[in-house]
């Protein structure tokens, strides 16, 4: 081999490496990196409408589910493909990303919502949508059982209603009074949503006293004891197979096929229901107050599940803010949120009403203002606490491996370990 050939080979290698490292510069555009797979198409379509209107290109990137989204987001930041707008789900996400966030100031939409994400007086998050969960019921079956939903305002009322319904299983054609799931696939139902009953039920909207204690490693044993009665009630009147090994389809399916009167789920089951039920099989449904602790209740858990936040290293922040503002204040944005993406917008200027069964009912609860809502605090617990640490405790309690007293003791232990 001659010297020139060796040099030629070296040059070729250098060229190959340059190709790998070289990368074309992108035009001025807004990248939104979001985690709702189900609205990817609709959001992309809306971004196209926005581009036609204003000339600013908005690129929608989507990664599915919760955990993979967090991982992929870290990868995006590590690889320097930083988005302008990304998603956090509350204090946990804020703490992870706070060094990267830029606050919103003076944006028009801030005055139109009560659900923006605020830390230390600064607005950091644009509410993506409003979601709610609680005890949804089948209107017709509940009527048939002779229970007036207006009376379901306390644990005792629920206990009486469940017992009555349980005795009428054959007449109503149901497997169990409640569709509840506590299996390994459903850790979010127990460890996050149900546990939020301990954190915020019966308290004023925005009250974080119990959560603050939890984050300091202190448990409110009395409240936990009241709450454990509620968990016991739900587990006692649930179908065993759905409770112990059921997944999302099994739980929602039990309610959709009218094999249960109640379901402990949120309005996000609407698309599932509308997919499965035809016009003939569709039935009326609504939410009853959520009585996780003692006392009288007339509220369900309403909140924004996730927020669009701004990346403070982005060069196109103004364009990003303009895009979100357009979504909240323009008719095209309202149409996208309500009619296309089937979400409940968090903004008071929206007059459209969703056509899906539970979401329409949530709008009524939302209209009650502060009195109709309990706070969403489940995303503000330390990472992994809800789904990783306490969900298995619910599971073994559901199986009957531990007693109610042990269940309470385990929860106290886990909370105290957060110190």
């Amino acid at each position: 081999m001659s010297k020139t050939r060796v040099i030629a080979v070296l040059i070729a290698m250098v060229l190959v490496f340059t190709i790998f490292s070289g990368c074309a510069k992108e035009e001025k555009s807004v990248v939104i990196y979001q985690n709702k797979v189900e609205i990817n198409e609709q959001l992309t379509a809306f971004a196209a409408v926005y581009e036609a209107e204003t000339g600013v290109k908005v690129i929608v990137k989507t990664a599915g589910g919760d955990t993979p989204y967090a991982e992929n987001l870290k990868a995006e930041f590590q690889s320097d493909r930083q988005p302008e707008i990304f998603v956090v789900e509350g204090m946990g996400g804020y703490n992870t990303w706070k060094s990267k966030l830029a606050p919103y100031e003076g944006d028009e939409w801030i005055d139109l919502t009560a659900l923006e994400f605020v830390v230390d007086g600064k607005v950091y998050g644009f509410p993506v949508a409003v979601e709610a969960w609680g005890m949804a019921y089948n209107v017709e079956l509940l009527e048939k059982a002779g229970v007036d939903p207006a009376t379901l305002t306390s644990q005792d009322a629920y206990a009486a209603a469940f017992a009555k319904i349980d005795g009428m299983k054959d007449e109503l054609g149901i497997d169990s009074a409640v569709a509840m799931a506590a299996g390994p696939d459903m850790a979010w139902v127990t460890g996050l949503h149900n546990f939020n009953g301990y954190l915020s039920a019966g308290l004023e909207l925005g009250d974080t006293a119990i959560l603050d204690k939890l984050n300091k490693g202190e448990a409110d044993v009395d409240r936990l004891t009241e709450y454990a009665d509620w968990v016991e009630l739900l587990f006692m009147y649930a179908d065993e197979a759905v409770l112990l090994t059921g997944n999302y389809d099994a739980q929602v399916g039990q309610f959709a096929t009218q094999k249960s009167v109640f379901i402990h789920q949120g309005n996000w089951i609407d698309p599932w229901l509308m997919d499965y039920l035809t016009d003939e099989t569709m039935f009326d449904m609504a939410y009853a107050p959520h009585a996780s602790v003692k006392g009288e209740h007339d509220a369900i858990f309403i909140g924004a599940p996730s927020f669009y936040v701004l990346n403070n290293e982005s060069e196109n922040l103004d364009e990003a803010r303009a895009f979100l503002n357009y979504m909240a204040t323009n008719a095209a944005g309202h149409n996208y949120m309500v009619n296309e993406a089937k979400m409940i917008p968090a903004f008071t200027n929206v007059t459209l009403i969703p056509n899906s069964p539970l979401s329409a009912n949530v709008v009524k609860w939302l209209a009650k203002g502060k009195a109709g809502s309990y706070t969403w605090l489940q995303n503000d617990m330390p990472d992994g606490f809800g789904m990783g640490t306490i969900a298995p405790v619910y599971e073994i309690y559901a199986k009957g491996d531990i007693t109610k007293a042990e269940f309470i003791a385990q929860l106290v232990d886990k909370i105290e370990a957060l110190k």
Binding site: M1, A241, G388
Partner: protein, 301 residues
């Protein structure tokens, strides 16, 4: 330049692409990993990492969930190595017999290996949750009808072993088939003339002759079951929960799943990394010991 230096240059030029790739994607990340396991790294760009020595390792060994996960992983590995090897050897013996359809059988047993672990996990979830209870209904066995396999810790582990065996046995079977075809026919015939029955032949001729295959198959099944991840994620998500002492633990959260959860669910990246390094060390030691032991058992013709 003399011939010797020229040869050397050519040698290194040819080695370079593979060597550089190996260094960049294996060696460097490995040592970075060891470093990160001794820090409080959180994988967020712009966040400072500080060196904290062996704190992550101390934390790991005092964590009940980790110790339990280790135990379950060993249990799972032991049983699945045995089960995969027995099943695949039986299948291999079947498909090397004179049969019209043996190629179809070979392909058929191999097919589950082409299905991804996630899909396969969901298929078995369906079998355990829906097929088994409805079989109970059809044959009128109430015990089977009300059996919730995925709610019972040990049955679930058995279920994962079944699913893994179903996926992997076909692949291991192919290795056994290749080995069986290389068993000298004259030895087999001689034993037949001497009046040896099937079991004698299997024990004294076939098994010793395919000992090198055992080395390979045991190694593959051991390493793969130790690292099992996707089937578990789809089939059980680590559950069902159970009590270990007075601690609540996830009964099928094997090491790979456990490390993933620590790193990504709890967002404790550096701790996850420390556990991954221990995982790597233990797996290396166990598999090297196995290969060394099996090699000694091989016979030379």
């Amino acid at each position: 330049m003399n011939r010797y230096t020229k040869n050397k240059i050519v040698f290194w030029l040819f080695v370079a692409p593979a060597l550089i790739a190996f260094i960049v994607v294996v060696i460097i990340p490995f040592f970075m990993g060891i470093y990160y396991s001794m820090t409080d790294w959180s994988a967020i760009a712009g966040e400072e990492t500080t060196f904290i020595g062996l704190a992550n390792y101390k934390e790991m060994f005092s964590d009940v969930a980790f110790r339990y996960s280790f135990l379950r992983t060993f249990l799972f590995t032991l049983f699945s190595v045995i089960s995969v090897n027995i099943v695949s050897l039986m299948l291999a013996l079947l498909v090397t017999r004179e049969s019209k359809f043996r190629n179809i059988f070979r392909a058929g047993f191999f097919v589950p290996n082409l299905i991804g672990g996630l899909v396969l996990g969901y298929i078995w979830q369906f079998i355990f949750k829906s097929i088994v209870p409805s079989m109970g209904t059809v044959f009128n066995i109430p015990a089977l009808e009300n059996l919730l396999i995925l709610a019972e810790p040990n049955l679930t582990l058995l279920g994962v072993i079944m699913a893994f065996t179903w996926q992997y046995a076909g692949y291991i079977m192919m290795i056994y088939v290749a080995a069986l075809m290389n068993v000298p026919q004259d030895l087999v015939e001689a034993s037949q003339i001497d009046g040896a029955n099937f079991w004698n032949r299997l024990r004294n001729i076939i098994v010793p002759m395919i000992a090198p295959a055992f080395t390979v198959t045991t190694f593959l099944t051991l390493v793969n079951s130790f690292k099992q991840f996707d089937i578990i994620i789809a089939l059980t998500s680590g559950g069902p929960a159970t009590l270990y002492g007075d601690q609540v633990v996830n009964s099928t959260e094997l090491l790979a799943v456990h490390i993933y959860n620590v790193a990504f669910t709890y967002n404790r990246m550096a701790e996850g990394q420390a556990r991954a390094i221990i995982f790597f060390l233990v797996l290396s030691i166990v598999s090297l010991a196995q290969v060394y032991y099996n090699k000694k058992k091989e016979v030379e013709m």
